[in-house]
């Protein structure tokens, strides 16, 4: 067996391991729904900007209208998701990923 084939079988073995499947599940079950959510929220904003201008023009406080508030909320949600992802990754993904990486690199060298 050549080294390359050995490497591939290590990767395939790790891929089948429970730890890896758990890492993959934790990654996808956070990233995929969140992506759908922020894309949907952004599209809602764009569609409102195109088709609901009377609503967007309603003034809430002085000259600050709904359009401005929803626009700024897009910034807030973006900052929040970035922060939440980094927390999720540090707590739930990094420890598993680190131990799997050490395992693989120990066997491949």
């Amino acid at each position: 067996m050549t080294t390359r084939q050995h490497d591939i079988s290590v990767y395939e073995e790790v891929h089948r391991s429970e730890d890896f499947q758990e890492l993959k599940r934790r990654f996808r079950s956070w990233a995929f729904p969140m992506t759908a959510a922020f894309l949907g929220w952004y599209l809602l904003y764009v569609v409102l900007s195109g088709f609901a201008r009377d609503f967007m023009g309603v003034k809430l406080l002085g000259n600050i209208n709904v359009a401005l508030v929803i626009g700024v909320l897009q910034f807030v949600s973006t900052f929040w998701i970035a922060w939440a992802y980094s927390r999720h990754a540090e707590r739930k993904l990094d420890p598993l990923a680190d131990s799997l990486r050490e395992h693989v690199e120990g066997r491949i060298g």
Binding site: Y11, E12, Y45, I64, A67, F79, L100
Partner: protein, 536 residues
Amino acid sequence: MSHETLSTILFLLFVVGTLAITFWASRNTKDAADYYAGGRSFTGVQNGLAIGGDYMSAASFLGIAGIIALSGYDGFLYSIGFLVAWLVALLLVAELMRNSGKYTMADVLAFRMSPRPVRTAAGVSTITVSIFYLLAQMVGAGALVGLLLGITSETGKALTIVGVGLLMIVYVVVGGMKGTTWVQIVKAVLLMGGATLVTLLVLGQFGFNLSALLGQAAAQSGQGDAFLNAGLKYGTEAQGLAGKIDLISLGLALVLGTAGLPHILIRFYTVPTAKDARKSVIWGIGIIGVFYLLTLVLGFGAAALVGSKAIAAENAAGNTAAPQLAEAVGRQLLGDVGGTVLLAVIAAVAFATILAVVAGLTLASSSSFAHDLYAHVIKRGKATEREEITVARISAFVIGAVAIVLGIFAQKLNVAFLVALAFAVAASGNLPAILYSLFWKRFNTAGAVSAIYGGLLSAVILVAFSPVVSGGPTALFPEADFAWFPLQNPGIVSIPLGFLAGWLGTVLSRESDAGKFAEMEVRSLTGAGAEKAGAH
């Protein structure tokens, strides 16, 4: 001293400083990882600043402030798309790419595919996207000098484009990724500093009351409350349904394009680990987000304090709104001297901005040519590292020269649509290929090639037959009329087409390698076997 002289002096200081950094960086640029990826030794914070420096182009600084100053709220729609897009990069692309790639976008695609067709497609797409973007920046540079430095002769503008082009070639050829990254870091700091200063001065004029600022902006614009709502520029009521669909199409390309822009993607390789790539995107999001909030104040501030009429009189697209605003607030606070100084500072920052962005684009396209097309397609992986870097430097020189010539030639053409087109191509061709490649087991060579060419061609063809190219007074060719596609932005059609082409190409081909995908998944999620940082 006039503001033109002061601007020129400040700009020359920036040039001397960044050239010094570039030559210093070149002493530490020895192998391919140094040249292409800055030795992978930048910290997350440094790379986050560089991401900001690479991304915040003159189009987004002067352009968005200008759109807000003239058309109000609509400019904000642009900045929100540009910002939210970074979440796609953060959640789905940055870390996995850092773990499974080496120098270029194609590295990730070629991992489990037949390398030659995939690298050819990715190389063609990288160079196309980068050149579109580069050309828009070069033409913008020529127009800017006219406005900011008072150079109005055609020769003067052409000479400026040559100067900008030569500087960018020096940064890239001499400094590689290290030099380019430092130029972007310095520029990001200057741009944030300049924008924050002017924003604070503007808000100070209104006692830090945003509502008062908005009220005066609406009044001075002559549009009233409509100025504070969407619809004066994109998807206006006069354009009807097509205009509104066009707005959604633009929004889609903006939000999905960023994570497919090659010059952005290669930034993830400049840090030691995937965790640093994550950290750099989070810093990038913070910097870019704050910057766009500042731009909002700058745009409305310009409308309020300078007036939309005075801005439109200086430049029909509003590109001078930010510098004009700087002059106005400077003068109100410190008299003529203050106005001159602040205008000069902002003008110099604008030039620094252009230089940093064009350097990043030249690096991305020349790296892809050398690493993907030369080393892997032409030489079939048999080129030495030394040969590869030499070819990268030569191609940076050639691409720079081509950009200079095209930039001069296109000076009188309306090429503003090229940036939107670059985003559309990135979203329609590159993004489907990257996402399928990272997440879809069945994906294969035929799928990757069809996604890239399918997305690239549908975006380019739809734009060629759209109103931006022919059939109207503001079109690229105003005399001709062959426009049958009603939208200015192809994204809403071309992005689904790109994903569809990638799916169709995949299922029509039998090739499928579950073992390679298992390896890629393990590597991309754990960082096992990822490229390490350089020793120096």
